[in-house]
Symmetry: C2
Subunit: 393 residues, 2 copies
């Protein structure tokens, strides 16, 4: 990977269990144009409140992130600690506090162990350049089982650039703005006017289209930094280069979002829910999310049970307009139901075969219009219950 002008560092600050990296730093050698999307949860973690305040200037140069503790529901002390963390990092780097973003992920409601963070930050800053994006991806994991990164390359006037992203998240995942932590870095120079709308659109098509358990976190943050270190001309809005950049950004975010679902807590199936024939785009998304979040549908996926009736029930209560007599449903290309009733023949056996795969698509036509939406989800398994019944203990 040839991402220019960014350096990484990771250390063990003893926030998580011994032997696991839990504090990471991203540093851009020059201030970068920045855009971010934060959780819509009304209970926002301290780092979310602080980072949202700072991103307003459209610039950032560093990001410090810890795993193992969410610094959420921590009140005034939480804000003090988030500020102090960025102050220590800014002092070490010799940059303004305002250019330092901060993220936390982990258990809610416990104050940060500031003495450990304070002790670890000098080593974190000193270590810049010693870690890779993969190291960073590993350091931000909580219940994730593998680190998640995605990389694409583009060209502007003959000069190449890179977009590299990382993400974490395996539970408390439900689309409502960015639904986990994701950091996307590019060495392209991008007009700030283009950056934010382009990023928000990409987030909507990726992180806002996945759901594991329907729970929206207090800490979700998705951050994009563009530092221009590749030496490209600045990518301006409404140009072919802008469209290429948007496409590549979409690809990076969608790849990361899919990795999050594949690493869904306890997941054994990756399922793409496609709704067609909806009266509106909003209806399509409502119906897709109802199916993707239904415990009964998700346990049927787990059991490889071609129980399409549960899916019709879910679109029925989703709030979307549906025509019960025109509903149709496919598992991959096997039509299970048409005109609201079972398709007959060998659909049951062939549908069950589809559900034996690790990845498949469920398509539901609502028979009510021309709009569509896609959402990615996973199954609900014993392992999900085990992970979440025992997470803190």
């Amino acid at each position: 990977m040839s991402l220019k002008g960014f350096q990484f560092s990771v250390v063990e600050a003893a926030i998580k269990k011994p032997g696991r990296k839990d504090l990471a730093l991203i540093y851009s050698e020059a201030p970068a144009a920045a855009a971010a999307v934060f959780t819509t949860n009304k209970v926002k973690a301290a780092p979310v409140l602080l980072s949202a305040e700072r991103i307003a200037c459209g610039k950032a140069q560093a990001l410090v992130v810890n795993s193992g503790n969410a610094n959420a529901c921590t009140g005034t002390q939480g804000m003090v600690d988030a500020r102090e963390t960025t102050r220590l990092v800014a002092a070490g780097l010799g940059v303004s506090d305002e250019l330092v973003q901060v993220c936390s992920t982990g258990v809610i409601g416990v104050q940060l162990p500031m003495e450990r963070l304070t002790a670890a930050i000098p080593g974190l800053v000193a270590g810049l350049g010693s870690a890779t994006l993969d190291d960073l991806a590993a350091a931000i994991m909580t219940t994730d089982t593998f680190p998640k990164t995605a990389v694409r390359s583009g060209v502007v006037n003959g000069v190449g650039y890179t977009i590299a992203g990382t993400a974490k998240g395996a539970g408390m995942i439900m689309p409502n703005m960015a639904t986990m932590l994701s950091f996307v870095l590019t060495d392209a120079a991008v007009d700030p006017v283009l950056l934010t709308p382009c990023f928000k659109a990409a987030v909507d098509r990726s992180f806002n289209a996945i759901t594991i358990d329907g729970d929206t976190s207090t800490n979700d943050t998705c951050l994009l930094l563009a530092n221009g270190a590749a030496g490209t001309d600045t990518i301006a809005a409404d140009t072919p280069e802008a469209r290429q950049f948007a496409q590549l950004l979409d690809e990076v975010l969608l790849e990361l979002a899919r990795l999050i679902v594949k690493d869904g807590e306890g997941a054994t199936k990756f399922v793409e829910i496609r709704i067609t024939g909806a009266a509106s785009g909003a209806d399509a998304k409502k119906a897709a999310l109802a199916v993707a979040n239904s415990s009964l549908v998700k346990t049927a996926f787990c059991g490889q049970d071609a129980n399409w009736g549960r899916i019709f029930a879910a679109v029925g209560y989703s709030g979307a307009q549906v025509d019960p007599d025109r509903l149709a449903l496919w598992f991959d290309d096997v039509c299970m139901a048409r005109d609201g009733v079972f398709a007959g023949g060998d659909a049951e056996a062939r549908g069950t075969d589809v559900l034996r795969n690790k990845e498949f698509t469920v398509t539901v036509d609502l028979g009510s219009g021309q709009e569509h939406a896609t959402v990615y989800t996973c199954d609900l398994t014993h392992e999900y219950v085990s992970i979440n019944a025992d997470y803190r203990t």
Copy 2:
């Protein structure tokens, strides 16, 4: 139980596995004043469509109900079969088809085995008087582990009357009108003007305040028959007798609703979620349902993990107005958090002790007003996954 003027019958029609009763009949010796509440799911089962059409006249004399097959997503044939079932019952009883209600519960998307129903109905009618309400409660079970009944007695001008109810349901339970099957019978004479509003209010406070898995069924039906056989004066609206009747009806429905949650698929905990300090009643209910439906909260209950942060996260994304700095939370009488942060002291240990009980209350104050709401729910367990991953197989 001294419920007058109603007779019951149950038979084995081979819809469920051998050895299990699966067809039941309730018969009122005289036409009864009737009220009903049906699912809000847009995909409605054939029996729901037919019964809703018929209840408009405000009278019913019989109810035929089968378990093992929902007769949902069965199209025109499903309607034909529902009508034919009631025609056969009406002919056997010598009453008008229009006075026969019909309900089905079980697997979605499979046509009713009409030859078996046709063969079984003469015996069903002939057997009237041979079964008890408990027999009926057992015959309508699907994944339920115990039959559910509740009984109360009242008095009007010195004449006693009885309200007796039964319900079934353990999965696909989520409040949005009646969320399972429930039949409530009274031998009081009740003014039809009183009956429907009184019943709907009772349903809202009971069946519409429980959730097991957030899934709203295609078949939910809650039916009330008042046949006057006790010989009471007719209970008129806005009288002390009406208020007593409403209170007793509330009690019967709430008892049945609580039994459904206690029999929640795989449930090991019965949890009352109380929201206080809400800006509106609607906000209070939204917040209560978000907590009650959160997979992360429900798995924490399962693990007896006093993870109150997940509950704050749930109210935060519920859509209700919350003041993050004034949020407070109790497990029974143990204050876990106040002013948005951990209460400190020995709250963790004492809160964990509460969660070791089979029943407990979670109270969340949103710090935003004076309104409140209560919802009943259960935990999410391995057993829930087992039951629903393997239900059909």
